[in-house]
């Protein structure tokens, strides 16, 4: 089964993959918003989504490490990785202490900050072009990019909020 969805919040995406697994659909592959699922036992797998370190570009070493400890790297999309483990093998959570949870949210925050920066420049360019030419297509693009900017801003804000929350727990 294939499903098309656009997620930019990995927590919501993870919850969705988890729900699909509960319903007997195991996530298998991701490409440009298309999620491929194959039938599985209801609740057979626990899914986790992670963002790899910018410096640590070698996905091979990450995958080898995870496989050595019994975690399957199901799919990869740029720096994003989808991991899973059989639910029978016990609980599965990628990050178990506050420091590493903060690190993860920091990585995600910086990832979206750099895209927010690029998108903001695009927005300004499109916006000024739209004003100049009064072309409706350009206005449409401006609105679209504006929406993307807002979505990224929301994620950056959410990550900052989570980091602050975790720091208070320390």
């Amino acid at each position: 089964m294939k499903k098309f969805k656009l997620y930019y919040d990995k927590d919501l995406e993870q919850d969705w993959l988890q729900k699909m697994s509960q319903d007997g659909w195991a996530f298998k592959n991701f490409f440009l918003g298309v999620y491929t699922f194959v039938p599985c036992q209801p609740g057979e797998y626990i899914y986790q989504i992670d963002l790899l370190d910018d410096k640590n570009k070698s996905i091979q070493s990450f995958t080898a490490f995870m496989e050595d400890i019994g975690v399957e790297v199901v799919a990869q999309w740029y720096r994003w990785v989808y991991l899973r483990k059989k639910a029978d093998d016990g609980p599965f959570e990628m990050y178990t202490d506050i420091e590493s949870k903060i690190n993860q949210y920091n990585r995600i925050k910086n990832f979206f900050l750099s895209f927010l920066f690029i998108e903001s420049i695009c927005f300004i360019v499109e916006f000024s072009a739209a004003i100049r030419t009064e072309n409706p297509t350009l206005w449409l693009f401006t609105a679209l990019i504006g929406l993307i900017c807002l979505a990224f801003l929301r994620i950056v804000w959410k990550c900052s909020f989570k980091i602050e929350q975790l720091k208070r727990e320390k």
Partner: protein
């Protein structure tokens, strides 16, 4: 090497688990065993910690057998041991000072 802040619990136990050559799964297993299942290291937490310990040279890659796809093993270095014992001294001081609480009663 200069390290004055307390080690996190994860780093402390990872250093302990690589006093002899040990691989990722072995580290998770041993830490869980000696803490009676209280501390189960998440794969991402362990991966990040190992990379940070490697870059600080507190642990080193002990073996990597590419032909048989044997798991990577890690081993503590002299620097790592220094940091570990410094932390143990700090913890001893805590335990020692904790006795003051009992003296009061």
């Amino acid at each position: 090497m200069c390290y004055n802040s307390p080690l996190t619990e994860a780093l402390f136990y990872i250093l302990l688990a690589v006093r002899k050559p040990n691989h990722g799964y072995g580290i998770i297993q041993e830490v869980s065993d000696i803490t009676n299942g209280r501390l189960v290291l998440g794969p991402g937490t362990l991966y990040g910690a190992i990379n940070s310990l490697l870059s600080k040279k507190w642990i080193t890659l002990y073996s990597e057998d590419k032909s048989s796809r044997k798991k990577k093993e890690y081993l503590i270095t002299t620097d790592g041991k220094d940091v570990f014992y410094k932390e143990v001294d700090r913890l001893r001081e805590l335990i020692e000072n904790a006795k003051l609480m009992e003296d009061l009663v």
